[in-house]
Amino acid sequence: MISKDEVKHIVKLARLSLSEKEIEKMQKELSAILDYVEKLKEVDISNVEPFSMKLKNIFRKDSAQSQKPMAKSQKLIEMAPQKKENYIKVKSVLK
């Protein structure tokens, strides 16, 4: 069973906010799911490499992909909830 403090720690890492009630529910549900995945411990994984897609690196030229790169980036900046001139505005990180 995962502890309440552990749940709170994960909430913090995940950048979520949960109410006290949600945390209690999450503790129960996560514990049940973690009990279920316990059975992975039955599998002999000695000498097994983790799965990989066996993909190859694909490169392209480091150049603008569209003819009007500014128009595209403008469109994306427009979507930000807060902006100033051509920048996305955020709250202060340091006091």
Binding site: R15, E49, V90
Partner: protein, 467 residues
């Protein structure tokens, strides 16, 4: 069905505009009950249809999808239209560009009617996790259409579109196709570009066609597949037309799929379908995929880990819902408030599980172990495919269940994907076709193939489809 519509359009039996309006009328009449669409794109549809009619009247040749009305799962971007991913956090998000599959559909003249409902961020098996409303199964309104592509499946089944696109991470195209009695394909990983598909679990996500017939599925797949420079995991398919007589086919039936918690009626129908293939000269062989029982726990570790990283982008800063304008004074609280308020319970649960599996102290025991078991699952298939050309299994252990039946028990809900996650983990193509009904509810047969053997899968599926 698509080929017939195409012929009728060419012969001018009806115009693309008339066809489009007919479907829009049907949506307005029937979708109040089914609730498969989140957004209608009437203007876009009508302008596309008019363009096709103009081409026809000029006597120009039109592509097979030209003028064919379709619906798109609301997790695939269409420029200028809202794309919510079924989430409050993207409730007012308008897509700034077309996904590659949309670009290809548009180039081929398909008429896009609207965006369909889904579980929030494609996380769920019933479409009940949509932040907006629940979609009903058109065959029984008390039941779920499956998920997460439940809106697309319901829309196709109710003839509210000629075909639809869904996305499949652990069964989200195949399971709703099975529940609604249609055809759904999850292509080989890399067969279809994911550019413009809102990411859930990037090593598993694939866009797939949801259609009335296998022939339609192939037509749509042929249009959307192929390499795209915007998705470096996409590749040009080494797919060749399959030309081998039925009596040279050997198909495996894994014994592990007929044990745990499968509905007896489902088991009976699947076995009857397999017998039917045998009658037609296909050689059936029992095989073993020994790690089958570990596929679901492996999937839930890997998919949630990837999701926790992918969904970190919803931070209230770049786009989507945001509390940045409130009285909050620091950046961290913007994140916490936006995400705490914007995500629904299942999404939070999965972000939590994924964050846990990747966190210091647990990474080795959970995420890394799961990746190793994933390798074992992959090797099971590799070994099996040395002997057989394809594999038959059920799609889901039960037919469509009742609304509300599993929503309070996440683990019970996860079990409806128990037969579909293995092919996802191994990156293999798999199709769901209807092989019968129990108490009027359809049951799907899953055909899993080797990587990039979609053509063979279609040929095998057609044997049954034309029964």
């Amino acid at each position: 069905m698509i080929a017939q519509i195409h012929q009728s359009l060419i012969k001018k039996e009806f115009s693309a505009l008339e066809l489009c309006q007919k479907y829009l009328e049907r949506i307005k009449k029937f979708d109040q009950k089914i609730k498969s669409f989140l957004t209608l794109s009437e203007d876009l549809a009508i302008s596309q249809a008019k363009k096709i009619d103009e081409m026809i009247s000029q006597g120009r040749e039109i592509p097979i999808l030209a003028g064919i009305p379709c619906a798109i799962k609301d997790i695939i971007l269409i420029e200028g239209l809202k794309c919510t991913a079924g989430s409050k956090i993207l409730e007012n998000y308008v897509a700034p560009y077309d996904a590659t599959v949309i670009k290809r559909l548009k180039e081929n003249g398909a008429v896009i009617l609207g965006k369909t409902n889904l579980d929030e961020f494609a996380m769920g098996s019933s479409t009940e996790n949509s932040a907006f409303f629940k979609t009903k199964n058109p065959l029984d309104l008390k039941r779920v259409p499956g998920g997460s592509s439940g809106g697309s499946a319901a829309a196709v089944a109710a003839d509210l579109c000629a075909f639809a696109l869904g996305s499949d991470t652990g069964g989200s195209v195949r399971q709703p196709a099975s529940f609604c009695g249609i055809v759904g394909l999850k292509p080989t990983y890399g067969a279809v570009s994911r550019y413009g598909l809102i990411a859930f679990a990037s090593s598993l996500d694939q866009i797939g066609p949801m259609t009335k017939t296998v022939e339609d599925c192939e037509i749509v797949f042929d249009v959307i597949k192929g390499k795209d420079e915007m998705d470096s995991t996409s590749i040009e398919l080494p797919i060749t037309n399959y030309q081998s007589p039925i009596n040279e086919l050997k198909i495996g039936v894994p014994k592990e799929y007929f044990v745990e918690g499968i509905d007896l009626e489902v088991e009976k129908l699947i076995k009857e379908a397999i017998k039917e293939y045998e009658k037609r000269g296909v050689e059936i062989q029992e095989i073993s995929l020994p790690h089958t029982r570990y596929a679901l726990p492996t999937y839930y570790i890997i998919a949630t880990s990837e999701a926790s990283a992918n969904l970190a982008r919803y931070d209230g800063i770049k786009y989507g819902m945001s509390n940045v304008k409130s009285q909050i004074s620091n950046l961290l609280d913007v994140y916490l408030n936006t995400r705490g308020g914007g995500f629904g319970p299942e999404v939070k649960r999965r972000i939590m599980l994924g964050t846990f599996s990747l966190s210091a102290g647990y990474y080795e025991a959970y995420y890394k172990r799961a990746q190793k078991v994933r390798q074992k699952i992959f090797e099971d298939f590799e070994k099996a495919f040395k002997d057989v050309d394809a594999i038959f299994t059920p799609v889901s252990p039960t037919p469509a269940f009742k609304l509300g039946e599993k929503i309070d028990d996440p683990l019970k809900m996860y079990l409806s994907d128990v037969f579909t996650v293995s092919a996802s983990l191994a990156g293999l193509p798999a199709i769901s076709i209807t092989c019968g009904k129990t108490k009027n509810l359809p049951v799907g047969l899953q055909i899993i193939g080797k990587p990039f053997s979609e053509k063979l899968i279609f040929e095998i599926a057609k044997i049954y489809d034309t029964k």
